[in-house]
Structures are given as C-alpha cells and as structure tokens.
C-alpha cells in the first residue's frame, strides 16, 4: 500500500519535471508577449507576406480569383500605366512641398516658444490644437473655407484686393492648398519635438558664445543648429514617411482631383484596391510604397550612424 503510494507520487513528479529558473522565466516571458506575438503574426506579418504574393497575381473583377502572373503588375505600373508616374510625381511634389515648409515653421515656432514668457502656454496650445483634431474634421472645415465663391479665405483676400483662385478646383492650386492645410494640421507635433530638444541644450553653451561676442544668428548657426542635428534627422524622416501615407486629408479635401492633380500614392492604392477591385495591381503599388518607406528609413539609419562616428 505504502509502496503503491510512493510509486504514484514519484510517477507524478516524473510527469512534471522541475524546470530550471531560466526555463520558467522564459515561459512566463512568452506568456506575457503572446497576445502581441499572435496579433503581430495575424494582422501584420501574415498580411505582409500575402501582399507580396498578391502583387504577383492578376486578381480583379474579371478574373475573380488570383492567377500567378509574375512581375506583370510591376511592369504595368512602371512602363504601361501613365497614371502611375503621375501619381508618384504627385506624391513627391507633396512631400517636397510639405517637409521643408513643416520643418522650417516647426523650428521657427520652437525657437520662439522654447523659453518661458507671458503667453507662451497660450501659443503652444494654439499651435498644437490641430494635432489633436481629427484629420477628417480639419479637411471638412478647410474645404469649406477654400471654396471658390463665398469661401471665407477668398472673401478675406478680397478685403485686401486679391482675387483668390478656386483653390480646390485648379490642379496646381489644389496641391498648394492640401500641402499648406496639412502643414498647419501637423506642424505642432514637430514643434514640440524641437522645443524638447532645445530645452535639453545647456544654457551655458549660449552664454559662453555670447561672452565671445557672437550674434544671435551666429549662436544659432554655430551652436544650436549642430546640436539639433539628431532631432532634425528624426523629424525629417518621420515627416517624410508621414507625407507618403497621407490619405484621409486628400480623400476629403479633393478626392484626388481635380484632373488627378492631387492623386497621391496612398489614395491611388485605395482607389485601385477598393473602388476598382484591382487587387493584384493595388498590391504591387502597396509594395512600391513599402520599398520607398524602407529606403527612406535605411537612409536615415545610415546617416545617423555616420553622424555618431
């Protein structure tokens, strides 16, 4: 009887071998990260692999299902479809307009608002307010303000004798309008990043430069700007990537028009995929976007590494 009991308990302890502390910790850790890992595989890595495959298939309303066609979609985009280069050009024009304007304004505002004075909180609050506002609301209001006739912007311009264009109905002006309104929407974010970086610069540096008789501009050029370089690089890449994925703003302000004048890559992907159901072609476009963003990120990392050495 006693022997049987002993046998039973030893059998039990054999079935559940004692884990080492390390093993137990590892199991605990993987339990902690398991929701993240499952979600990551299901909604990110899986789809990323799938989009590569989709981009190599012909899949639209006619074919109904995916048939493998190799790199045909990429060839179509790069050499057959004139829309693609137009869209890519628009995306680059948008980025080239938005990034410098956004960064210059963000830095100027940050320089003005990095030291305490009466009203500094008021101004910071004002310039950041559009960031917490939904892009949809922002686009709706600006579309209203920028109407050709009766729009508030043109009525104000009329007060000083300027006959404003029909902003969102002329391709070039529409591009200008979506860039500027997007800058106003997002500049607050870069402003606070610059303010944080400026406040981290020891005041002694500036004081020392001033003792040696440096002017404000010289202090900025020789002391502050070099010290801001890492922040500037981060802001540059983030703003650049952000400008390539702009979608809701364009969707609501211009719908890609007029005459496809503001048709940018993210909007084109949406249109091809969900409006025209060209799944294969849209997936190839998504891959192209992925590569652009990847290249930008790698360039940033390389620059940064070189910067540190």
């Amino acid at each position: 009887m006693a022997e049987a009991l002993r046998e039973k308990s030893s059998a039990r302890s054999w079935r559940a071998p004692r884990l080492t502390l390390r093993q137990r910790e590892a199991i605990e850790a993987w339990l902690f990260v398991s929701p993240t890992v499952v979600g990551f595989l299901l909604f990110f890595l899986g789809p990323l692999v799938a989009v590569v495959y989709f981009s190599l298939t012909e899949w639209n309303l006619l074919t109904q299902e995916a048939t493998f066609v190799g790199i045909q979609n990429y060839v179509d985009a790069l050499s057959h479809n004139p829309d693609f280069w137009h869209v890519l050009r628009n995306s680059f024009v948008f980025a080239m307009g938005l990034v410098p304007l956004n960064m210059a304004l963000a830095l100027t505002l940050a320089l003005a608002l990095s030291r305490p004075f009466r009203g500094v909180v008021f101004f910071r609050t004002v310039f950041f307010a559009p960031v917490v506002t939904s892009a949809v609301a922002w686009a709706i209001v600006w579309r209203f303000l920028l109407q050709g006739e009766g729009g508030a912007v043109n009525q104000m311009l009329a007060l000083i004798g300027i006959d404003g264009p029909n902003w969102l109905r002329e391709p070039d002006w529409a591009m200008v309008a979506v860039i500027v309104t997007r800058v106003i929407k997002m500049v607050g974010l870069n402003m606070i990043l610059y303010i944080a970086a400026l406040q981290a610069i020891p005041r002694d540096y500036e004081a020392a430069a001033r003792l040696e008789g440096a002017s404000n501009w010289q202090i900025f050029r020789m002391v502050i700007w070099p010290l801001l370089a890492p922040t500037t690089l981060v802001i540059f890449v983030i703003t650049m990537i952000g400008s390539f994925k702009v979608f809701d703003h364009i969707y609501l302000m211009t719908g890609g028009g007029p005459e496809n004048g503001t048709l940018v890559l993210a909007f084109y992907i949406y249109e091809q995929g969900f409006k025209f159901f060209n799944v294969g072609y849209a997936s190839a476009l998504a891959m192209i976007m992925f590569v652009i963003v990847l290249v930008l990120t790698v360039v940033q990392m390389t620059l940064r590494r070189r910067d540190m050495q």
């Binding site: 993240t36 979600g39 990551f40 892009a135 209001v141």
Partner: protein, 282 residues
C-alpha cells in the same frame, strides 16, 4: 534717439508676439468658423460672411440627428475608442514588461520584428487584412476597428513606450516584491503598473485619439449607417448629388471636435507631453 537695452528688448518682444499672433490665425480661425457656420442656415452660409450668425439656427443640431443615426454613430466612436485604449494598455504593458525585465531566448529577434512593424504604413497591409477580416466573417462589424489598431503599428509603438518606462524603474522594488512571494504577474500588476502611471496615461491619451480619428479602416470595413464611426459619419452629410450639406456637416463636425478641444484645453500640458513621449508618430 537711442533706446535703452530694456526698450529694445520690449520692442522685440512685442514684434515677436505680433508675428506669433498673425501665424496663429490659420490655426484658430477654422475652429471659430466651424462653430459659427454650424449655427447658420443653408442660405446664410453663402451670404455676407460674418463670424456671428445673424440668426442662430439651433435647428441644425436637431437635424443632424435626424439626417442619420448620429447619436448611435457618436456612441460607436466612443465605445470603440475606450475598448481600443483598454486593450492596448493591457497588451502593450504586458509585452513591454517582459521585454524590459525578463531575459529570454528570442527576445532580441522579437524586438527587431516588432520594430519593423513601426515603419510599415497601414496602407501596405490593408488589402490582405481586408480579405483576412472577410474570411473571419467580420466585415461590417466593429471588430477590425478594434483589432487592427491594437495589434498594428500603434500597438507596437505603445509596447516600446511601456518598455522604455519599465526599464527606468529601480529593480530593487521588484526584488522586494519577489521576497514577499509575488509571482511575475503579481509583480507586474502590483509594482510595475502602479509605478508607471505617467506612461500609462500617455498611452491612453494617444491611443484614444488615434482610434477616435481613425478613417481608412472604417471606410474599408464598415458599410451600414448605424455602424459608422464619427469620421465616416461626418463625411456623409451630403445631398443627393453628393455635395456637402455644409450647415449640417459643420454642426456635426462641431459636435465631434468641441468636446475633444475642451478636454485638450483643460489638460493641454499632459496631452502635449504624451505626444512628445510617444514621440514620433504621425
């Protein structure tokens, strides 16, 4: 006439303030014009412009709710944003804790994989995700509007933010908890989480707004009116030609934006800091 140092300083201060006030106009004006136009009639909106409506038309705010199930849509946005926030807090702080505190095989590789998710825009994976959600039978439900933000790049950003914060908590406190016989889970729940309130607050604020403002996912996944979220509903105040019904659209937009702005004005320091902490998203 020569100016004293004090005088020049005062003059430059005034010039700066004036310049800032002028720059501030396009940041403030849209909000004022939005609220004011939301109180105008359809005809007054295109008449002589004035910031104060001639006739305050409160009826707009009744019509907004009759044109489409706006109260329901408002509630949808609210409960989805709260759900996304709570889930993100739980999942990102669990994973962030393990990545900060436990040394385990595969941690390095996992970090690299997660980091890569930060760089990929939602637009790249939205097409396969659409088929995945359809295969799961979840199109035209709120599930994708919860799942995709929680597990997408926003959730990963939250995980790294939490990890960064946990790294800064002194280990000794956890050792003491271990002595008292707390399990890993107990240490996370009773020691690590209470100590990281600022990070939890930052994740909450940024996540709530992220979900509240989400547009592409609702646009792709939701088709029935009563399941719309606010951004989708706002874009839907149109006449039979698809042209905006401005007075209703702007009244509805005011209803969506003004409560957020009021909270922002009260807690602006905390909210701005949260965005600075989560850094670099946008």
């Amino acid at each position: 006439m020569t100016l004293t140092v004090r005088q020049t300083r005062l003059i430059s201060r005034i010039c700066w303030t004036l310049a800032l006030l002028i720059v501030a106009v396009p940041f403030v004006f849209p909000f004022l014009w939005m609220v004011s136009s939301g109180f105008k009639s359809a005809t007054e909106i295109f008449g002589q412009p004035s910031l104060i409506p001639r006739v305050w038309r409160w009826q707009n705010y009744v019509d907004v709710f009759e044109y489409q199930p706006f109260a329901r849509q408002y509630f949808n946005s609210l409960y989805i944003a709260v759900t996304v926030t709570v889930l993100t807090l739980a999942i990102s702080s669990l994973a962030g804790y393990a990545l900060a505190r436990i040394r385990f095989a595969g941690a390095g590789l996992l970090m690299i994989f997660l980091l890569s998710a930060l760089m990929v825009p939602e637009e790249v994976t939205i097409i396969p995700n659409f088929f995945l959600i359809r295969w799961m039978g979840l199109t035209d439900t709120h599930a994708p509007l919860i799942l995709l933000p929680v597990f997408g790049s926003h959730g990963v950003m939250a995980t790294f933010l939490m990890r960064q914060y946990f790294l800064a908590i002194p280990r000794e406190l956890e050792e003491a908890g271990k002595m008292d016989g707390l399990s890993r889970f107990g240490i996370w729940w009773r020691i690590a989480l209470p100590m990281s309130r600022p990070a939890l607050a930052a994740v909450s604020i940024v996540t709530f707004l992220f979900s509240w403002n989400l547009f592409l996912e609702p646009l792709v996944f939701i088709s029935s009116l009563e399941k719309f979220t606010l951004p989708l509903a706002l874009s839907n105040f149109t006449d039979s030609y698809g042209l905006p019904l401005w007075h209703l659209q702007l009244a509805a937009t005011s209803l969506a934006v003004v409560p957020i702005l009021i909270v922002y004005l009260i807690a602006q320091r905390q909210i701005i800091e949260s965005f600075a902490l989560s850094g670099v998203k946008g």
